[in-house]
């Protein structure tokens, strides 16, 4: 098992592995997102208070969950890159940042579109909203930092540091609704109480879980593709990369 992981860290092995895995992840993701979104729009009943406005949940929650998960993943990969100086971990950090930034922006905008009908305002300087906005700035910082360096390895190491320092914001975003008086609702699924005694009806929950699974698989596919591009560019002088380009 460990030997296989070590082999996977080699750029040509990773490139071929990603070439096989990414289309499967992508196909499954499209199927699950389609089923989840269709179920959420057409099968789930309207909420007794929010009516149909609650249907934004099927894109807002996966986007928000991904925004936190991707940053955590970047911090873990960043730690691996800094401690073991593993090239693929450096690539993982820089490749995940644009995807994470796009989903954070989507979570913020869909949250605003949900806020207007339910709260009466697009934006309030609430702990959850503000900390999520800080997360977007952290993603922008990682992307900018990577582009500011001409040496990709130095740039990736700087990004790894920022990912590690910034990860402190992830629990702040998640627990902000518990720690402070917030307009944003509390955790419905990702809490011990939420799992024991679900706060959301099963008819509304299954499309959300399916959509969540689909968005996570979609991230996996996109991340692998972006990592492949980064690996190909960094290894452009290697024989395997030249053979890949020529093929």
């Amino acid at each position: 098992m460990w030997t296989w992981f070590h082999q996977l860290a080699s750029p040509p092995t990773f490139y071929r592995f990603a070439d096989v895995l990414a289309p499967w992840l992508f196909g499954l993701a499209v199927l699950l997102i389609g089923v989840g979104v269709y179920g959420g729009l057409f099968f789930a009943p309207p909420d007794y208070q929010q009516g149909d406005a609650f249907r934004i949940i099927y894109v807002h929650v996966p986007a928000a969950a991904l925004s936190l998960s991707i940053y955590t993943l970047m911090a873990v990969a960043g730690a691996v890159a800094l401690i073991w100086r593993m090239k693929l971990a450096e690539v993982a950090v820089v490749a995940a940042a644009p995807v994470g930034a796009s989903f954070t922006a989507l979570a913020l905008v869909t949250g605003m579109l949900w806020g207007k009908p339910t709260w009466g305002a697009y934006w309030v300087w609430d702990a959850r909203l503000t900390s999520e906005l800080v997360l977007l700035f952290l993603y922008a910082g990682v992307i900018g930092l990577n582009q500011a360096y001409s040496d990709p390895r130095a740039g990736a190491r700087a990004c790894a540091w920022l990912a590690l320092v910034g990860v402190i914001n992830v629990p702040i975003v998640h627990f902000s609704v518990t720690w402070w008086n917030s307009l944003h609702q509390g955790a419905s699924i990702l809490s011990v109480e939420g799992i024991r005694n679900p706060k959301i009806s099963g008819d509304m929950l299954w499309p959300l879980l399916v959509s969540l699974a689909g968005f996570y698989l979609f991230f996996g596919a996109v991340w692998l593709r972006r990592m492949q591009n980064e690996v190909l560019w960094r290894e452009r002088n290697a024989r395997w990369a030249q053979e890949t380009v020529a093929a």
């Binding site: 934004i56 894109v59 796009s102 922006a105 869909t110 579109l113 207007k116 996109v222 972006r226 492949q228």
Partner: protein, 50 residues
């Protein structure tokens, strides 16, 4: 529920679709560009050797 909020729901889905499409296609566009640039530089280095 005010019917005008239907616009908010559909806008959310349209934005999500835009983000998904951008994420799905931008790595492919980048890869095509990379392959073009790398094959050009390979051809150039081949010409220089000749």
């Amino acid at each position: 529920m005010n019917p005008k909020y239907a616009l908010f729901i559909w806008s959310s889905y349209a934005l999500a679709l835009a983000v998904v499409l951008w994420n799905a296609f931008s790595p492919q566009l980048r890869r095509n560009d990379l392959k073009r640039r790398l094959s050009e530089s390979l051809e150039q280095s081949g010409d220089n050797e000749e």
